[in-house]
């Protein structure tokens, strides 16, 4: 068990990543991130880069060629990094890319909320219009059960509230059922070094992974399985990643970490030597914000481009 889980003196060196909660195999996080980056790179080279260069890379055999080349390139790069002090800089870069992708996923969540809000506003607008026209046309009569305000309200309840309630109920039932199962299961199953809350956290985390996959499922239709799996691996790997704080890492790693500290510290603020872990966490938040900001920019530009032809179509011919 790692620092915070064990408490005591080692709690002072607790890393900030999720990898702390459970003792994952050490290479799980970098391997997950690496697989994600590889999947995304193969997709990017075969699907975007080669067509942009005028090479038809849609054939399976050519994709295999590209995959071999990319794997060779990355293995060489990791070998070169492992032979020098650059490995932690590469690890930091992978982590930051994973955080950036997480930021884009957050913007997607915001877009979904905005979509719901727009639909609710449209419903409210329809309610006001429908209510006033119903009032005008059926003056002196009360609104019938089939139309007007009552009908609109019922359709909203059926469409959103019932659906949301069902989903919340299902989620609550799942969480309670899984929790009870874990607690009851603990009487017959030995979790080894792990406590019940840790096992429960792992179960909930795993279900969150499936929920995340469900949330970004439209990307599967649009981009294909390679980038879809790549994004999942990147986000999960970045969440698990566990940078060791200064003082625990071996001397060669420490020197690389100090280099990274110097690279990402802000000298004019006079912060001095930041603990590496804190610096990495701050850099991760920066990458998250950068990813979210860039994704927002893309959304705005994309929406404007989509609306421009609509406006031009709506303009009367001169």
């Amino acid at each position: 068990m790692t620092g915070a889980a064990s408490g005591g003196a080692s709690a002072a060196v607790a890393p900030l990543q999720l990898g702390l909660v459970l003792d994952f195999p050490p290479l799980l996080a970098p391997a997950t991130l690496g697989v994600g980056i590889l999947l995304l790179t193969v997709w990017f080279v075969a699907d975007r880069l080669l067509p942009a260069l005028g090479v038809d890379a849609n054939l399976a055999s050519e994709t295999v060629l590209v995959a071999t080349l990319v794997v060779g390139l990355f293995t060489t790069a990791i070998g070169a990094a492992a032979s020098t002090d650059a490995l932690w800089a590469v690890a930091l870069l992978l982590f930051l890319v994973g955080r950036g992708v997480e930021g884009a996923v957050f913007v997607r969540l915001l877009r979904k909320l905005a979509h719901y809000a727009a639909e609710a506003l449209a419903w409210l607008g329809g309610l006001v219009d429908g209510g006033s026209s119903t009032g005008r046309s059926t003056a002196g009569r009360s609104g019938g059960p089939g139309g007007g305000v009552g009908g609109a309200a019922r359709s909203l309840v059926e469409k959103y509230v019932t659906k949301l309630l069902y989903r919340l109920l299902a989620l609550g039932f799942l969480l309670v059922a899984v929790g009870v199962t874990v607690v009851l299961g603990a009487t017959v199953v030995d979790f080894g070094r792990y406590t019940i809350p840790q096992v429960y956290a792992l179960v909930v985390g795993t279900s969150a992974l499936f929920a995340f996959a469900w949330n970004i499922r439209p990307a599967l239709d649009r981009l294909g399985p390679l980038p879809f799996g790549g994004v999942l691996c990147c986000v999960v790997g970045a969440e698990l990643y566990n940078f060791p704080p200064t003082g625990i890492a071996p001397a060669t790693v420490q020197s690389a970490l100090e280099t990274a500290d110097r690279l990402i510290s802000v000298p004019f603020l006079g912060l001095g030597d930041l603990p590496t872990e804190l610096a990495v966490a701050v850099a991760g938040i920066g990458a998250y914000a950068l990813g979210a900001g860039f994704a927002s920019l893309v959304v705005v530009v994309n929406d404007e481009q989509r609306e421009t032809p609509v406006r031009e179509r709506g303009r009367p011919p001169s």
Binding site: P26, F74, T76, G79, A80, V107, P218
Partner: protein, 107 residues
């Protein structure tokens, strides 16, 4: 307790495998480079498959021999691979973020 954390360091785990990884990468890159040469010669230059395979095989073999014999070639290829991988990862991050942002939202 701290031993588990120290072992999390990939630098520690991979330190002994740097050379092995480097040579595995060189081999994979040489094989892929040879195959890409064969495919390009066949598709672009109109060579028959056996002839393209001979030329591609010779190119890959020449590359491997140069890697084995000349340290500067090894250093250059390793540096280029590292630079290319880092650049690809950065470009990739930007592309994936842009793609994710434009995936349609459904209720």
């Amino acid at each position: 307790m701290t031993a588990a954390l120290a072992a999390v360091s990939p630098g520690d785990l991979l330190a002994d495998y740097g050379a092995a990884l480097l040579w595995t990468g060189f081999a994979a890159t040489a094989v892929a480079g040879g195959l890409v040469t064969v495919a390009a010669l066949e598709a672009r230059a109109g060579l028959s498959l056996p002839l393209a395979a001979v030329v591609g095989g010779c190119a890959a073999l020449g590359g491997v021999l140069a890697l084995l014999a000349v340290p500067l070639v090894r250093t250059a290829l390793a540096t280029a691979a590292l630079a290319a991988a880092v650049s690809l990862v950065v470009v990739l991050g930007v592309v994936v973020v842009a793609e994710l942002a434009t995936v349609p939202v459904s209720s």
